[in-house]
Every structure is written in structure tokens, then in C-alpha cells.
């Protein structure tokens, strides 16, 4: 396919973007919408000491859970790790630092990072010791807020249903979840797409993530794990 922007790359190439100690953001919600091929590339790269940012810890062998379970992660910023008991075990052993952020706050912090903002103000978690700990408080128009810092990443990995060579992305039903937010918040954003279509094939009205946010696109290998419901 015509590759005028140089964004279409082979999956083998993405390993070059992974570094020890990097901050990596991933799309997905309980593994749904997490890019399976890019997770496998991350595993194959053997990078460690990672800081991961995403909605949850997946399941032990589903989604980002595969990376967490193998102990490659130093710190995880997520709203929930209950579906991945290995993550809980690593946390209790002191091998994994977990920063819990309420789900909506986390999504908005990632969105803010992608939109070039420094932080958001929210009253969610204001009276919760774990959420509010160490965070600045601010009064505005007579109401109190927590200052929740924006989140960005060295590398973002996302999953899309369709991509074109400019990186315009269309997602798939509930597999959209955090993907458009994560796509915008990466210094380098790599999208794994189920289908790569020529420029002009996507209706501009249907594009959810404009290609300006996307640096590289790889073809998807499809989901290679077994879901909990299967």
C-alpha cells in the first residue's frame, strides 16, 4: 500500500521504540481494546523497569496483564487491578508500585495529557486519603477541587478497527474505551489496526482519532488470548 507518510511499519520494527525504564500507556478496558500484537512485541523486547499507565491490569494472561504478570513493570498507574491477582501479589510483595486513580479521573488525566494541558480539577476523591494524598487542593468559585496532574507517555500503544496510512483511526464498539485518549497522550503513538485501508477510504466524519496523533501503524495479529467468558 502507498505509504506517503512513512507511518506504515512492520511489527518487528516497533521493538526499536521500547526502552528500559520508559513510560508506556496502553489502551483497553479489561483487555478489550488492548493491542495483542504490540503487547507481544513488548514482551519480546524484554524491556523492564517500566511505568505503565492504563485503565486496569488486565487479566494474568489477557491484555497488558501479560506484561504485568511477568514482572517487567516497576510502577502501574491504573484504576483497578482486581482482575489480575498476579498484580495484587506483586504489589503486596513490594515488587510493583501501584498508583490508584479513579477511573474517570484517570481517563481525564490521560485526555489532558494528550490535549496539551497540565492538570484537571475535580472533586472526585477529595475526601479519600489514598486519592488525595500528596495532591494540591484548590478553591475556585467557592468550591474545593483536587489538582490531578495530566499524564503523558514516551510510547502509547492502541488498538483500532481501521487505520489509513496517515494514521486516522476508527475503533470498534466497546473496544474504543481509553484508546482515543491514550493515542493522543503518547510522545510516540503506535496503533495496531485490524484493517489498514487506503487514504480516502475512511469517511472523514467517521474518523475518531485524527492521524496527526498517530506516528506508526502496524497490522493486527488478532486477539491471541482466551477471554474469561469463553
Amino acid at each position: 500500500m502507498d505509504n506517503p507518510f512513512g507511518k506504515l511499519i512492520k511489527r518487528e520494527k516497533v521493538i526499536d521504540f521500547f526502552r528500559n525504564g520508559m513510560t508506556l500507556m496502553y489502551g483497553g478496558f479489561g483487555g478489550v481494546g488492548t493491542p495483542p500484537g504490540l503487547v507481544d512485541s513488548l514482551l519480546a523486547s524484554n524491556v523492564n523497569n517500566l511505568t505503565l499507565i492504563g485503565n486496569d491490569a488486565g487479566f494474568p494472561e489477557i491484555g497488558i496483564g501479560k506484561v504485568v504478570s511477568r514482572g517487567f513493570v516497576r510502577k502501574l498507574v491504573a484504576s483497578h487491578i482486581g482482575s489480575n491477582p498476579v498484580a495484587g501479589k506483586l504489589m503486596n510483595q513490594g515488587l510493583l508500585e501501584v498508583e490508584f486513580s479513579p477511573q474517570g479521573t484517570l481517563a481525564e488525566r490521560i485526555r489532558a495529557g494528550g490535549m496539551g494541558l497540565g492538570a484537571i480539577l475535580t472533586d472526585v476523591g477529595l475526601h479519600n486519603a489514598i486519592v488525595a494524598e500528596g495532591k494540591e487542593r484548590m478553591e475556585l468559585n467557592g468550591r474545593e477541587y483536587l489538582v490531578e496532574p495530566a499524564l503523558t507517555a514516551d510510547v502509547s500503544i492502541v488498538y483500532a478497527k481501521k487505520a489509513d496510512p496517515f494514521g486516522n483511526l476508527v475503533f470498534d464498539k466497546s473496544a474504543r474505551n481509553t484508546n482515543p485518549l491514550v493515542a493522543a497522550a503518547g510522545e510516540v503513538t503506535i496503533a495496531e489496526a485490524e484493517e489498514i485501508v487506503p487514504l480516502g477510504d475512511l469517511d472523514p466524519e467517521e474518523v475518531v482519532t485524527p492521524g496527526v496523533f498517530v506516528n506508526y501503524i502496524v497490522p493486527s495479529i488478532g486477539v491471541n488470548w482466551k477471554w474469561a467468558w469463553q
Binding site: P102, Q103, H127, S174, A228
Partner: protein, 209 residues
């Protein structure tokens, strides 16, 4: 409990259901009632469970289980999903809980030193829905009451619970008063008193006594 909670859902509501017993509520809805179920992973218009073999791995509820959709469904990202929650556009949120206090505090996210799964979306769903119903067993596995004067576990959100439905009774919480409105057979008022960890007012119209 799920059946009793279903009776609180009225035509046209936007409803979010938590994982576990709350997810069984749609099975008990009156036929023909039109409700939009929101799933915080990015769906308004969630339907029931698809037949075996018809599941779509990219169409799941927040618990990760495949769902169907109803006419008028929309999909959106997590920021929008929680935007509509924070803005108070969810008419009714139904959640499970570990403890509830007399003043409506909800504790459902951690047991320090034992279970620390994270809050997920519970803080926003509990604190921001127009109405919050809690479904939980009346007592815990060790026989301790789960409705208390003050939660002993860290709270998820303060003063947010409007109604508690247990396997033994229904309480309404209004203006700092815990009001017993229904007792399920075979339990008596004394049973409820003995298994509730705080005082409460019995409604004049309390059912089941």
C-alpha cells in the same frame, strides 16, 4: 435483591449497573419498559447477553462479559463515559457494597491489608448518580452487620447512598435518617434490629411486618 431493585427502575431512566448481583437486575424488569443502560466502558444502550456463539469480543460490559445493544445505542470513549457520570446524567446507579453507614457513606473498594483491587469507577458512580441503590447481603460471612453507624472500612464516597436492599430488608436514607421500609420473609423486625449495626426508624408504612 435484583428483583426488588428492578422495581425501582422506571421508564426512560439512564441506569448504570455494577458488577455482580446488580448485573442481574435487567432480567427482572417489567417487559416493555424502556431503559437505557450505561456501561462505563463506553456504551449507552446495553442490552442482554447474546446467545452462545453470537458473542462479539469487542462488545462487552464493564465486567468484560459480552452484551447486546438496543436500538438507539451509542459508543464513546472513557472520558465521555465518565463525563456523563460526573455531570450527574445517570439517573440511577446500582452497586454492591461491603458496608454502608447510617448517613449513607459507601465502603466498597478496599479491605486494607487483605483486598486492594482499586476503586475502578465506583467513586464517580457512587458520588455522582442522581440516585444510588446498594444491593448487598445484610450481614457478612462472619455474621457481622454491614449496615453500621460508621463504616469501619475506608469509604468510597460519603453520604451518597439513597437506598439499601439486602436479603432481609429495604432501607431508605433521607436527611440523615435510616428508614426501614420493607422486611422480607421469614425475617421479623427483631431479626432486622439484631443484624443491623446502628439504630433506624421503622416507617409507618413498612411492608412485611
Amino acid at each position: 435483591m435484583a428483583k426488588r431493585a428492578a422495581a425501582e427502575i422506571t421508564e426512560g431512566m439512564v441506569v448504570n449497573l455494577g458488577i455482580g448481583i446488580p448485573s442481574l437486575v435487567p432480567d427482572h424488569l417489567e417487559p416493555g419498559i424502556r431503559v437505557m443502560f450505561q456501561a462505563e466502558n463506553g456504551i449507552v444502550g446495553m442490552g442482554g447477553t447474546p446467545p452462545k456463539g453470537m458473542e462479539d469480543e469487542n462488545l462487552c460490559n464493564a465486567g468484560g462479559f459480552p452484551v447486546e445493544t438496543v436500538p438507539g445505542t451509542s459508543y464513546f470513549d472513557s472520558a465521555l463515559a465518565f463525563g456523563m457520570i460526573r455531570k450527574g446524567l445517570i439517573d440511577l446507579s446500582i452497586l454492591g457494597s461491603l458496608q454502608v453507614s447510617r448517613s449513607g457513606d459507601l465502603a466498597n473498594w478496599i479491605i486494607p491489608g487483605k483486598k486492594v483491587p482499586g476503586m475502578g469507577g465506583a467513586m464517580e458512580l457512587a458520588g455522582k448518580a442522581k440516585k444510588l441503590i446498594v444491593l448487598m447481603n445484610h450481614i457478612d460471612r462472619d455474621g457481622n452487620p454491614k449496615i453500621l453507624e460508621k463504616c469501619s472500612l475506608p469509604i468510597t464516597a460519603a453520604g451518597c447512598v439513597n437506598m439499601v436492599i439486602t436479603d432481609r430488608a429495604v432501607f431508605s436514607l433521607m436527611e440523615n435518617e435510616l428508614l426501614l421500609t420493607e422486611v422480607f420473609p421469614p425475617f421479623s423486625l427483631d431479626d432486622i434490629r439484631n443484624s443491623t449495626g446502628c439504630c433506624f426508624v421503622t416507617s409507618k408504612e413498612c411492608k412485611g411486618l
